[in-house]
C-alpha cells in the first residue's frame, strides 16, 4: 500500500522503507522548538534527567515571543531562565528581543525549516511548517525536553484526510477563509490525530503566506499536522530564505486517505468564526450586525507581510471608527521593517491604528490588548475560546486581515467592499 506525504517523511526519519497508519515509530528530529512559556518547563525537566546536555546546539530553536518585552517580573524570570540555558548550551538559534519574531513566522523566514524535515515544537501551532512540505507538530514541554536531549521523538503514524483544492479564490478570499471554511465543515476535532494533506491545482493560486496560515490552523481541527506539496513557489521561498538542502517527498498515487473533500476556492466567501469555537463559522454576508470594540491584526496565523499589505490597502486614507481600538502586530522584525519601507506603518498610524513590536501578547490574553467584560474583538488570530483574550464574558470573532481591517473602519463586523 502507498504512503501519504507525511508517512513518507516519517518513514525516512525512522530509517524504515515504509510505515502505515497506527504504527509506533521513533524518528530523528531536524529541529526542536520552544518559546518563553513552554521552554522553562522543559528546562526544568531536563535538569531532572541523568543525561545532561543537548543533542545538537544548531538544531534547537528557542524563541522569546509570548510575553516579550516582558510584561511582568514572573515572565522576565522565565525569559532569564531560557536565556541562561541557551548561553550554557551555546544554542545557536536563540532569539531574544531585537531579533525575535513570532516563532512560526520567524523560523521559515530564517530558513531554519525546510521541506522534508521532521520538527517538533512545544507550541501547538508548530504545524505551520507543513506549508513548506515539512512534517511538523506541536508537543508539550516534556517531549521538548526529551527531544532536546536525544534528538529523537516517538510518533504514532497518522492516517490522513485529503483536501483537494480547485479553482481560484476571489480578491478578498485568503488562506484564512479557506482554513476557517474547512474547520467549519469538519469541526474542531474533525481531523483528530490525523494529517491534513492539501493538494490540487487550486494551490497554485495560494501564496506562501496563505499556505502558512492554512497549515497553522490544522491544529484547530485537531490535526496532527497540515501539509502541502512542494511546488515552484515553495522551492523559490526556501532558496530565498535558507541555505539548507531540502528533500521533496510526494504522496504515492495509491496512498490511503480516510476521507477526501473537494473545495472549490472560487466559491468561498470571507468567513468568520463566531464565539466560542473556531468551528462556528459563517460567511460574512450571514454575519448580521455585530458591534465591536477592538481589532487585532497579527499573530503566527496572520502577521505576515501579505496580511499587513491587505489590511493597509483597506485602511489607507481612512479612519478607524470611534470607539474601536485597532492593534497591528507585524510578526517579525523583518516584516516590521518591510512594512515600514512599503509605507504600511504610516498607513496604519494615520488611520488611527497602533503598531506593536512582534509579540503573541493579545492572541492568548497575555497582554497588549486584553478584553474587558462584554467586549467584542475581530481578530486575525487562531482561537476564540471562552476567556482566550481576556474576560470570560468577552467575545472573539476570528477572521482574515481583510475582514478585520474592514471591521475596524465600520465598528461592526464587516466584509471588505467588493
Amino acid at each position: 500500500m502507498g504512503m501519504t506525504m507525511t508517512q513518507k517523511i516519517l518513514a525516512a526519519h525512522a530509517g524504515l522503507d515504509s510505515v502505515s497508519a497506527g504504527q509506533l515509530i521513533e524518528a530523528d528530529l531536524d529541529l526542536v522548538l520552544g518559546n518563553d512559556i513552554t521552554s522553562p518547563v522543559a528546562i526544568h525537566e531536563m535538569d531532572k534527567m541523568k543525561t545532561k546536555g543537548v543533542f545538537h546546539k544548531d538544531k534547537i530553536a528557542l524563541v522569546m515571543d509570548h510575553f516579550v518585552p516582558n510584561k511582568d517580573i514572573k515572565s522576565a524570570q522565565h525569559c532569564k531562565c531560557v536565556r541562561e540555558f541557551a548561553a550554557k548550551h551555546e544554542i545557536t538559534n536563540y532569539f531574544d528581543v531585537g531579533e525575535m519574531g513570532i516563532e512560526h513566522a520567524l523560523l521559515p523566514e530564517q530558513g531554519l525549516v525546510v521541506a522534508g524535515d521532521v520538527i517538533i515544537g512545544a507550541d501547538s501551532h508548530t504545524c505551520t511548517y507543513g506549508a513548506l512540505g515539512a512534517f511538523s507538530t506541536g508537543v508539550g514541554s516534556t517531549d521538548m525536553a526529551a527531544g532536546m536531549a536525544t534528538g529523537k521523538s516517538w510518533f504514532k503514524v497518522p492516517s490522513a484526510i485529503k483536501f483537494q483544492l480547485v479553482g481560484k479564490p476571489s480578491k478578498w478570499v485568503s488562506g484564512k477563509d479557506v482554513i476557517l471554511h474547512i474547520i467549519g465543515m469538519i469541526g474542531v476535532d474533525g481531523a483528530l490525530y490525523k494529517s491534513m494533506e492539501f493538494v490540487g491545482e487550486g494551490i497554485r493560486h495560494l501564496s506562501m503566506d496563505d499556505r502558512f496560515t492554512i497549515a497553522n490552523m490544522a491544529i484547530e481541527a485537531g490535526g496532527k499536522n497540515g501539509i502541502f506539496p512542494v511546488d515552484d513557489l515553495a522551492r523559490a521561498y526556501m532558496k530565498e530564505h535558507s541555505k539548507r538542502e531540502f528533500t521533496v517527498y510526494e504522496a504515492d498515487e495509491d496512498a490511503e486517505y480516510e476521507e477526501t473533500y473537494t473545495i472549490d476556492l472560487s466559491q468561498l466567501k470571507p468567513t468568520v468564526a463566531f464565539p466560542h469555537l473556531p468551528e462556528n463559522t459563517r460567511t460574512i454576508d450571514e454575519a448580521g450586525e455585530i458591534a465591536i470594540h477592538q481589532v487585532v491584526i497579527g499573530s503566527c496565523t496572520n502577521g505576515r507581510l501579505e496580511d499587513l499589505k491587505t489590511a493597509a490597502e483597506i485602511l489607507r486614507g481612512k479612519k478607524v471608527a470611534k470607539g474601536v481600538r485597532c492593534i497591528v502586530i507585524p510578526a517579525t522584525q523583518r516584516i516590521y521593517l518591510d512594512a515600514m519601507e512599503l509605507g504600511l506603518i504610516r498607513d496604519f498610524i494615520e488611520a488611527g491604528a497602533i503598531v506593536s513590536t512582534p509579540t503573541c501578547g493579545p492572541c492568548l490574553g497575555g497582554y497588549m490588548g486584553i478584553l474587558a467584560e462584554g467586549e467584542r474583538c475581530v481578530s486575525t488570530t487562531n482561537r476564540n475560546f471562552v476567556g482566550r483574550m481576556g474576560h470570560v464574558d468577552s467575545e472573539i470573532y476570528l477572521a482574515s486581515p481583510a475582514v478585520a481591517a474592514a471591521s475596524a473602519l465600520t465598528g461592526t463586523l464587516s466584509g471588505p467592499k467588493m
Binding site: H78, A122, S124, G140, S141, V188, G222, G366, R383, G387
Partner: protein, 164 residues
C-alpha cells in the same frame, strides 16, 4: 493501581485556555497553576475538589494549546484520573508524560454524572460507578504507562530505567 473519588463533569471541547488561562502562564509552579485550574469554566472547582477526585468529560478534552501547564494544573489540584470520550492529541501525550492518568471511554463519559463516586482500575481498565452501580470497560493501562504514572512522569521513568 486504582483511582477513586467524586466526579466533576464537563461537556465537549474543554480547551486548555479554560483549564489554565494564559494570564497565569507567567508561572510554571504546579501549586500556583492548580490554584487557577478550570477557573474560566467552573469557578467553584478549585474550592470543591478533593484529593483523588476525577474529571469526566465528553469529546476532545484538552483541545487548543500545547501548554503542559494544563495537565500539571489538573494533577496538582489533586485529580486522580481524567475520563473522556476522546482527548486532543497533545493533551493526551502531555498527560501521560507528566504522570496524570487519563482514559478514553465513551460509555463512561455518557453515563457518569456530576458528583458520582467512581473507581478506575488501571490494570483492567474497568471503571466502576459506585453511585449508579454500573461498570464500563475502558482500555487497560499498559505496564509502561503505569510505570510512568507511578514514577510521576516520563523523565523520572527514564531515569529509573537508566542504570548508573
Amino acid at each position: 493501581m486504582k483511582a477513586c473519588g467524586r466526579v466533576f463533569k464537563y461537556g465537549d471541547n474543554v480547551d486548555t485556555d479554560v483549564i489554565i488561562p494564559a494570564r497565569y502562564l507567567n508561572s510554571s509552579d504546579p501549586g500556583e497553576l492548580a490554584a487557577h485550574c478550570m477557573e474560566d469554566i467552573d469557578k467553584e472547582f478549585i474550592h470543591k475538589v478533593q484529593k483523588g477526585d476525577l474529571i469526566v468529560a465528553d469529546k476532545n478534552f484538552g483541545c487548543g494549546s500545547s501548554r503542559e501547564h494544563a495537565p500539571i494544573a489538573i494533577k496538582a489540584a489533586g485529580v486522580s484520573c481524567v475520563i473522556a470520550e476522546t482527548f486532543a492529541r497533545i493533551f493526551y501525550r502531555n498527560a501521560i508524560n507528566i504522570g496524570l492518568p487519563i482514559i478514553e471511554c465513551p460509555k463512561a463519559a455518557q453515563s457518569i454524572e456530576e458528583g458520582d463516586q467512581v473507581e478506575v482500575d488501571f490494570d483492567s481498565g474497568v471503571i466502576t460507578n459506585k453511585t449508579k452501580q454500573e461498570t464500563y470497560q475502558g482500555q487497560a493501562f499498559p505496564e509502561f504507562m503505569q510505570k510512568i504514572i507511578a514514577a510521576e512522569g516520563l523523565v523520572n521513568y527514564i531515569n529509573n530505567s537508566v542504570t548508573d
